[in-house]
Amino acid sequence: MKTWDLIRTSNRNLFRNKLRTFLTVMAIFVGSFTLTMTNGLGDGMRDYVESQVKNIEGDRAIIVRKKVERPAGGPRAGAPQEYKESSGDESELDFDPNSMLLTQSQIDSAVRGLKGVKGVTPRYNFKAEYITMDGKKSYKAEIGMLSEGITAKTDAGKPLSGPNQIVIPSGLARELDPEIVNLVGKTVTVGYKLPDGTMKTVPLEIAGVATKGFMTNYSSFVGAETARKLHAEQKTASGPDQFIAFTIEMETSDAAAIAAVKEELSAKGFEADTIADNDKRTYDAIGIFKTGMNLFALVALLAASFGIINTLVIAVLERTKEIGLQKALGMGRGKIFAIFSLESVLIGFWGAVLGTLGGIATGLIANKVLVAAYAESFEGFSLFAFKPLSITLVILLVCAIAFVAGVMPAIRASRLNPIESLRYE
């Protein structure tokens, strides 16, 4: 028999008992529908997070912290940490074992000997009080620092390119001027307190308005140079400056070079992550969530596959004589197996197609409703995202499950003895 004839025969067989076929397809429909929804939810979350984190860029930057010491001998998380006496002179690689903080000389020694390093920026911490444009209305200021090698994407203007510049969040920008393009190049005044409590101001030029994202929704950013100045002025403690982290800017974004540097830093007792590493961690968490949800959908599909088995076992019994005739007329086992397998796969296929279509329709409606309700807090957020690849994979997976379900009845059919089958009552 030709392949096309096999498919045609299987399809016709399915239409012999329309109600039974329909019910079996419906069971698969429910499973496929659920799988489409859970998959779409995972993809939607990932898309949203991606849209939120991708506006901070820096493929050449490595953010370095001291490794957090785990209590030795006990894997128990959250166990109290033991106090360790520091050796006194906190220079070079001799850290205070109880602190995350690093001095400039410790940073210098950490990066000494690393290959391909273009520059190192310590994380200068400082605190700004307010930001104002016209001097009349001031806004509470949240200002962070962008290390060399890390940029925040902008909707208007350009990323930071020199000292005394600032990138402001779009919310603030719209408040200052609804036409945010007009703000580029203008000057804002930032107020900050000195250790003795007196307020000081610094004029900063608006380089650009940041694209929305988790980090840039509320926070403005200044460059390392500006941050260093404010940090120095606000310094209270005596002794050398201490930083919670530092950023290494590599000469290239070459993955091998970055990996080598990370490994070397790790050996020296540092945790070194690129922005991609951080993002990956977030994506992995979403991936685990998505997998967990998909498992529930797979349980539904598993239940539905028993429906397929049931339907086909009955079909084999009903069509025993027909199978006997086909065998007598020279149809081989393989072809009989193929006809029943194809029926199984077709049930899966139609269930999957209907399920994914139903899932997509429901998801798109849900997105519309949710956007209307939560547009303020989650701009650009779609709860469900449907990707052609994901949908194709869902359909293929369901067909594969259906095929496996059909194997047992199909083998039964193919092994029937023609004479006994023709006599079957």
């Binding site: 030709k2 004839d5 020279g330 149809m331 004479i419």
Partner: protein
């Protein structure tokens, strides 16, 4: 055409062995018109099944055109049945929901014939059983005699050398039965197709040129009939 050599068949179920066929020797020539008669349990159906390669003998062998079929693979036997044999059963085994055409072309579909070939062969076979006007009727809407004629057309379409007919008129009244019989004999006479009829209808058997009578798994008589002369 067909030859049985020392053919034996033993069925065993639940440890009880039953010898359905005991050391049967038989030779069927090309164009023969052979009736196998006997009471139920005499082994006549078993003999037919073995000759038609639907079943494998416990001992002995069946030769088709001089070739030993016991050495053939299952696949080769399938091809052999599909190309050289046609079957007509007492029960029609038609797919009632399908058209007459679809039922008839089944052996050709199994063979993998092209659609054009299939249509041409179907036209010829349907014309031979005089059902051309019912070609696209559903099989379930036909009368009993028409159904059996569809079966004959289905047996005929592959241009077989042998048609095996197992109680072909068992489900028909005598008038339609006679019409179906005549049609089978016509195929035998005009197309030279070898006919092997299994029946316990003596009238039908006597219309064949040779009658083999079976009892307890053995051939007890093998004679030519008046119809042969």
């Amino acid at each position: 055409m067909l030859e049985a050599r020392n053919l034996s068949k033993t069925y065993s179920s639940d440890g009880v062995e039953y010898e359905a066929l005991k050391n049967v020797n038989l030779s069927v020539a090309d164009g023969d018109c052979l009736a196998i008669v006997g009471k139920s349990g005499s082994g006549k159906s078993t003999l037919m099944h073995l000759l038609a390669c639907l079943d494998s003998p416990t001992a002995g062998s069946v030769l088709v055109d001089g070739g030993d079929t016991s050495r053939l693979s299952e696949k080769a036997k399938n091809t052999l049945r599909n190309r050289k044999f046609g079957f007509v059963f007492q029960q029609f085994f038609l797919n009632g929901r399908d058209t007459v055409f679809e039922n008839i072309v089944l052996p050709m579909r199994i063979r993998g014939a092209s659609y054009a070939q299939l249509v041409a062969d179907a036209d010829e076979a349907i014309a031979a059983v005089r059902l051309s006007d019912k070609s696209f009727k559903k099989a379930k809407d036909l009368s009993g005699g028409e159904k059996q004629r569809v079966c004959i057309a289905r047996a005929l379409i592959g241009k077989p050398q042998v048609i095996f007919a197992d109680e072909p008129t068992g489900n028909l009244d005598s008038t339609t039965g006679t019409a179906v019989e005549d049609m089978l004999f016509q195929m035998n006479r005009e197309k030279g197709i070898t006919l092997v009829v299994v029946t316990h209808d003596e009238d039908l058997a006597n219309k064949c040129s040779r009658i083999i009578e079976m009892k307890d798994g053995q051939i007890i008589s093998d004679k030519a009939t008046e119809a042969a002369s």
